[in-house]
Amino acid sequence: MKSIYLDYASTTPLAPEVLKAMQLYLTRCFGNPSSLHSFGEKARKAVEDSRKKIAEFLFCLPEEIIFTGSATEASNLAIFGIVRPSIQSIEGSVKPHIITSSIEHKSVFMPCRILEDEGAELTYLPVTKEGFIKISDFKKALKKNTVLVSLIYANNEIGAIQPIGEIAKAISAYRKSHIANYNDKRLAISAMPYFHIDAVQAVNYLDCDVKKLGVDFLTLSGHKIYGPKGIGALYVKNGSPIKPLIYGGGQEGGLRSGTENTAAIAGLGEAIRQIANGKSQIAKIRKLKNKLFKGILKNISDVKLNGTLDNSLPNILNISFRGVEGEAIELALDSEGIAVSTGSACAAKDLKPSHVLMALGVSPKDSHGAIRFSLGKYTTEREIDRVLKVLPGIIERLRKIAGYHSK
């Protein structure tokens, strides 16, 4: 039985082209990019070539790209790097204020929580039941002491694409109208609030032109785009007063010390080049996702789409199957060789359902029965057919165990 992988939002396989681009730097070209000799020079060239490819993709300058050990680290760098110095520079009763959403990935949510403990003021924007931030809510949340806005470009559980451009416009208008406040000596930072987006899930499918988007920081990941694990990058707009998290040899413009992961950096550059060359297979993936959705609706009763098909990533489909637990479905599918994922909680320590689905207003009952199917460029129509063949039986069996009778 051939296994079927429908968990591309968790991680993706390494593309053969990427592996090829990496191999040289895992073998012969092992030099330290900081060395002056020819070994170092070759490694340095690989790092800088990759930086250029990423800069071209994001429409920014190469020196605005900082390589990190993961996307989590990149987001941590943006958030702590901007907000922590402002906690120190703002004295007295004025607290730095952060705006984020209630559907962030943990790598943004947790740093925000830590900063809240350290004295920052947080606004967690609500979302509509389809999973979108409302511009009006965002505008209301902006304050004189807002130093950072951090939002997810496209959500990893439901695929909802946020109106980043519109939010950037609102930020830009706010900056202009409140320019006087920046003369406040206690807020010795200009161009506030800064705007960070987590584009980890978006990079494969959406326009990531940072000028068009109007963002100051953008996080991306290697292993979600058919690149290697253990590599991420942060776009840092020139002139942003960001402080490093890791100190040492001063690599990456002093923002991220540590010898560069040359092979992974070369791999990330190649993965980005593949996307820039239109290898993401967006139309095919969207077609297969629609087929999967229609097939499920047709063959299984009492299901509910979490989020919406409009303004959503072409590859993520999140569905609740009433009367069953997501994890039981995941394991039953796994025994058929089909890999999917659940945000459901039984394995998490706090046992709470997915915070993203809860923010959408999905009931705890429905959240526990949620499954995320995430497709990728290697997904085939035959694989979708196979899933549609086995899934109804699995749901029926689990519903029997649960004593659930569909309406």
Partner: protein, 117 residues
């Protein structure tokens, strides 16, 4: 995952519930109880469960039934989560709470039986 004791019993002598929907696991347990003439005690003649939960919750429920079948009420009430875990051959740390389901549902079902008497 093919539980032997899933389902419900028509006209049960006792019904118990356990779990909560926030955590995601809920179990219903149905008991059929008979007087055993030899032992002169009430014995669990048959039992069935219905569980909404993860694989660990479903297996724990089934194993609990396996362990309880044929037991007297006194013996049954001695069932501990550790017995279920042992019979399953272990459970990961985060799943230990699933083994409580069977024990709690049993207590609730026996209480229900005694109230009906």
């Amino acid at each position: 995952m093919h539980p032997k004791h899933m389902g419900r019993i028509k006209n049960p002598d006792g019904v118990g519930q356990a779990g909560n929907i926030i955590c995601g696991d809920t179990m219903e347990l149905y008991l059929k109880i008979k007087m055993d003439k030899k032992k002169k005690k009430e014995v669990i003649k048959d039992l069935k469960f219905q569980t909404i939960g993860c694989a660990a919750a479903i297996s724990s429920s089934d194993v609990a039934c396996e362990l309880l079948k044929g037991k007297t009420l006194e013996q049954a009430l001695k069932l501990k989560p550790e017995d279920i875990i042992k019979k399953l051959g272990g459970l990961p740390e985060v799943k230990v709470h699933c083994s409580l389901l069977g024990v709690e549902a049993l207590k609730s079902a026996i209480k229900n039986y005694l109230e009906r008497k």
